[in-house]
Amino acid sequence: MTYPSFTSGEVLTATDMNAVGLWLVKTQTVGTAVASVAVTDAFSSTYDNYRIIYTGGAASTSCTLSLQFGIGGTMTTTNYYGTAAYANLGAAAWQLAINNPGSQCDNVGGGNTTSAYLMTDVLMPNLAEQTSISGPYVLSDFGRFGLHSFAQLSTTQFTSFKITPSSGTITGGTIRVYGYRN
């Protein structure tokens, strides 16, 4: 067979299934008027690398979304280094929002009263190495379009993460965590 195109009733062999590169690890629905949402049991030794996507919700006001890593419901609040590098359309200039260090990965996503969104690739969160993330940074309300890139410099083997709006709350939508097959 020629995967990933399968036909109805076809037997899936181990070779086929082992070739699937991205597995849905966890789905989390965001509640109403949430100041932060933590997702536990997201990272494990099964996968080295992950993708987090949050869409479908909305924020109470225009805001950025930040990310922290932790174990269970307890988040690490130190040693987040990195930046969001973005084009500021209003100023017609490239700008940087730097954490050196910060208490979280700031400016990873964004939201407004019609949508909230975050997408980032997370490298090695559950290994005893530094955790790195990178992805797009799109905040149309503020005219910012660019990329984010951060490192959490501890060697803590994280199992969870938390998304927090810079101001106000977020409501609804779904956080999905995917593991990249090793």
């Binding site: 989390q28 949430v34 932060s36 949402v37």
Partner: protein, 47 residues
Amino acid sequence: MTPEEYKTLYPQDSVHIQVDDTERLMTDEEYEAWVAEGVYNSNHPLP
């Protein structure tokens, strides 16, 4: 925006902290810290 305005916009009994499927209201200490951070961020947006 002042802390009072922020609290009027987001009363303590209307804002939740979520861990997985469990939501709860904030303690007084958590709420004051959250208000302070939100007010600061609202008054100091990135360019």
